[in-house]
């Protein structure tokens, strides 16, 4: 039997009985997406690691009260979203000027610089959003969650989530307008070049 044959819920029950190996399996399975949500939300690798660690420790503490009533992932989304939003409220206005050096696609130096500028612009636009708006945008566009799944994660109704998303999109559209124009131009340029 491979590690992935055991469900997350069964692993949680094992963790409740004190099995730290089961906990390690959960960490290995889920750390990637948890860290990415935290990173996109906070824009900082070290803080993302801190929040990810806190989220798993919360999970460990909560294992004794865990009941298999909801999907594990939904349960964990709640933990990570709560931690991120609380963290953002406590540490307002964190300037994100130093983005990590991400290898960007594109053959030339100019392409890479443009790409970095775009990423920096997007991150700044995200950081300017209120924490709840930022979280729903991340869950929708980066995690691909449905309205109902986001509603479960942030403890709101699906209608409430759609309202948050609509407002968040409006804010983002304004701050990302220059990039949106550029992407549209690039796209149209590519379409014109392509053979019919």
């Amino acid at each position: 039997m491979s590690d992935f044959d055991i469900s997350d819920e069964s692993l949680m029950e094992a963790v409740n009985k004190g099995d730290l190996n089961a906990f390690e399996q959960l960490v290995r399975r889920h750390q990637s997406w948890v860290w990415k949500i935290a990173y996109r939300f906070l824009g900082n690798s070290d803080e993302a690691s801190d929040i990810t660690q806190d989220a798993f420790l919360r999970l460990l503490d909560a294992s004794r009260h865990y009941r298999v009533t909801a999907k594990f992932r939904t349960y964990f989304y709640r933990i990570i979203t709560r931690l991120c939003i609380d963290h953002a409220r406590k540490n307002r206005a964190v300037p994100i000027d130093s983005l990590p050096d991400i290898p960007a696609p594109g053959p030339s130096q100019i392409d890479r610089l443009e790409h970095q500028e775009l990423e920096s612009g997007i991150q700044k636009a995200l950081d300017a959003l209120p924490p709840e708006y930022r979280m729903v945008i991340i869950l929708r566009y980066f995690e691909g969650l449905s309205g109902v799944e986001i509603a479960n994660a942030v403890k709101k109704t699906p209608k409430g989530v759609e309202r948050l998303l609509a407002r968040a999109r409006k804010n983002l559209e304004l701050s990302l307008y220059p990039y949106s124009q550029k992407i549209t131009d690039d796209y149209e340029g590519e379409s014109d070049d392509s053979p019919v």
Binding site: L20, F23, E24, W35, I122, L176, I183
Partner: protein, 165 residues
């Protein structure tokens, strides 16, 4: 259906997460409504922009770091978790009832025994009449000559003992 209802489904529509009949409703509305087509275009463009961002890889030492913190947390919680009420919370109702009855019987027996031992007239009388040598088990001093220091001490505690009773 109102535009606001249709627009609230755009996220799921783009992600392909709508049920078939809902998707058909959205498509039918889009054919008639230019405002919603524009909004959908904006939502779509936003998704295109956001998809341009990349996330750096997860730090390689993250698992080890989390496991070290988890091990520490577990060992702390073993010592910090001692709680006399923990058993009570975890016990079933019959176990709690049995424990309650046992405790009441124990307390009752303790009270009865305590009351009988303190109020028994024989023990009080014995105490009053006993010599200090018997009461304080100082019989090894009994053979000492009168007038000695130990003899004076015995006389003193005999007086104190009588005064007390």
């Amino acid at each position: 259906m109102y535009c606001v209802d249709i627009q609230s489904r755009f996220g799921d529509f783009i992600a392909g997460q709508l049920a078939r009949h809902e998707r058909e409703q959205v498509l039918a509305h889009l054919q008639e409504c230019e405002a919603c087509r524009t909004t959908l275009g904006n939502v779509d463009r936003l998704a295109a922009i956001l998809s341009q961002t990349e996330c750096p890889p997860v730090p390689s030492r993250l698992t080890a770091r989390i496991m070290a913190a988890a091990g520490k947390r577990r060992s702390e919680s073993v010592t910090a978790d001692w709680n006399p009420l923990k058993w009570w919370r975890g016990a079933t109702a019959p176990m709690q009832a049995a424990a309650t009855i046992t405790m009441i019987i124990g307390l009752g027996l303790g009270c009865i025994l305590g009351w009988t031992s303190t109020s028994s007239p024989s023990s009080a009388a014995t105490g009053a009449k006993s010599e200090p040598l018997d009461i304080y088990q100082l019989d090894f001093l009994g053979d000492l000559p009168s007038g000695s220091l130990a003899g004076s001490y015995l006389a003193l505690i005999a007086v104190t003992s009588e005064g007390g009773h």
